[in-house]
């Protein structure tokens, strides 16, 4: 009987191949970063990736058989983030954090760093991304992440999001419309509202 005992890594999932965990674990850092941007906070992001993990683990074969597991997992993360947002609309996306704006004025924000700043610039970049994506619908945010961050083409992003190519292109165009003024102004140091 000893030779049929599942390995320790499968303690909670005797019916699932460890390959699922391995693949998911490999994608976890990337998925977590996307979840932070979509969910608005690190705590929420942990919940989102956990929920996405459970969601995918319910049908591990679909995940493993998918030609691009990251894309499949990303749609799960996006879906969970959207559900969590709808479930608790009282949650407000991070807007301004005391000290961060001051840090930007001091020249440590944005893309340049003059040295260790206690993590302020690091948090600033994260919050800035959250703020940008928070202005978009979840679909727009999903398309923007896939195209502008992950480098997929509009066609590929449309396929991943299971929408028509024209719809995906329209989502991205509207997202850029929405963000253009904010991006340009903030680039010129006028982002204070």
């Amino acid at each position: 009987m000893a030779d049929v005992t599942p390995p320790a890594s499968m303690s909670a999932a005797s019916s699932v191949s460890p390959t699922f965990d391995e693949v998911f674990c490999g994608l976890l850092p990337r998925l977590y970063r996307r979840a932070v941007m979509l969910a608005g906070s690190r705590q929420s992001a942990e919940d989102v990736v956990h929920e996405a993990y459970l969601k995918l683990a319910a049908r591990p074969q679909r995940f493993l058989a998918h030609p691009e597991p990251y894309a499949y997992a990303f749609t799960a993360v996006l879906s969970v983030a959207r559900d969590a947002y709808r479930k608790d609309r009282r949650q407000v996306l991070v807007d301004e954090v005391a000290g961060v704006e001051g840090a930007e004025d001091a020249g440590v924000g944005g893309g340049g760093y003059g040295g260790w700043d206690g993590g302020v610039a690091r948090r600033h970049a994260e919050l800035e991304a959250v703020r940008l994506l928070g202005r978009l619908s979840h679909r727009q945010a999903g398309i923007v992440i896939l195209v502008d961050l992950d480098g997929y083409t509009i066609d590929q992003a449309a396929k991943i999001m299971k929408v028509h190519r024209g719809t995906a292109a329209r989502h991205r165009a509207r997202a850029l419309d929405r963000l253009r003024a904010y991006l340009v102004e903030s680039e010129h140091g006028q982002a204070g509202r």
């Binding site: 909670a12 999932a13 019916s15 699932v16 965990d21 674990c25 976890l28 850092p29 977590y32 970063r33 932070v36 941007m37 690190r42 942990e46 990736v49 956990h50 929920e51 996405a52 993990y53 459970l54 969601k55 683990a57 319910a58 591990p60 799960a76 879906s79 969970v80 559900d83 479930k87 944005g110 893309g111 610039a121 690091r122 970049a125 994260e126 800035e128 991304a129 959250v130 940008l132 923007v144 992440i145 195209v147 502008d148 961050l149 480098g151 997929y152 083409t153 509009i154 992003a157 292109a169 991205r172 165009a173 850029l176 963000l179 253009r180 991006l183 340009v184 680039e187």
Partner: protein, 198 residues
């Protein structure tokens, strides 16, 4: 990799700025230590369907319970519901209500002596005979019929309806007598009066 279709200058600038912001954030968000362990070992990581269904499950359960309660309540009501109700007014036991009918339309709203209809003492005597008056009723009054004599005097009303039926009635004020069948439009079965009651 190609970032998609070409856009105008302003869009290109916005897209470039957006890409730069997102990539900067992406480079700087670190994965918390032990995240994988927490995900894998947290309660609930038991390969059960989760996500939207897990969020909606309490609502689904509540909905199912409410539907079951409604179904049981409907079934109980169906079993114990009251049958067809006889809405005739309450009266003395063994009687049938009839409503006085005056063929003269002008008299239906007037409660004058000229519009009164006679209750006779004897259905076999001429209706208008002197002394054959037991009481007076008017159009619309409800009387209680105990029985009917079908061999009374033949009467014809103003509309041409004829009948030899006479009803043994009692009025609400206690007056009793015989009401000619042509002075009502009864549709109920009424038992025949025994010979002694005439």
């Amino acid at each position: 990799m190609d970032a998609g279709p070409r856009y105008g200058g302003a869009d290109e600038e916005a897209a470039a700025l957006l890409r730069a912001r997102l990539r900067l954030a992406d480079e700087q968000i670190g994965t918390p230590a032990g995240l994988w362990d927490r995900i894998r070992e947290q309660p609930g990581a038991g390969r059960q369907p989760a996500g939207a269904w897990a969020l909606r499950r309490p609502f689904a359960v509540a909905l199912a319970v409410a539907a079951a309660v409604a179904a049981v309540a409907l079934g109980v009501w169906w079993l114990v519901r009251p049958g067809p109700v006889d809405i005739r007014p309450a009266g003395p036991p063994g009687t049938v209500p009839v409503t006085v009918y005056n063929s003269e339309e002008a008299c239906r709203t007037s409660r004058t002596m000229e519009c009164a209809l006679r209750l006779a003492k004897d259905p076999h005597t001429a209706y208008a005979a002197r002394g054959n008056l037991a009481g007076r009723v008017w159009h619309g009054e409800v009387l209680w019929v105990r029985c009917v004599a079908s061999d009374g005097q033949l009467l014809r009303d103003e509309e041409g309806v004829t009948s030899t039926r006479w009803y043994r009635v009692t009025g609400g004020d206690g007056v009793s007598g015989w009401l000619p069948g042509v002075r009502t439009r009864n549709t109920r079965e009424v038992p025949e009066c025994p010979a002694g009651a005439r």
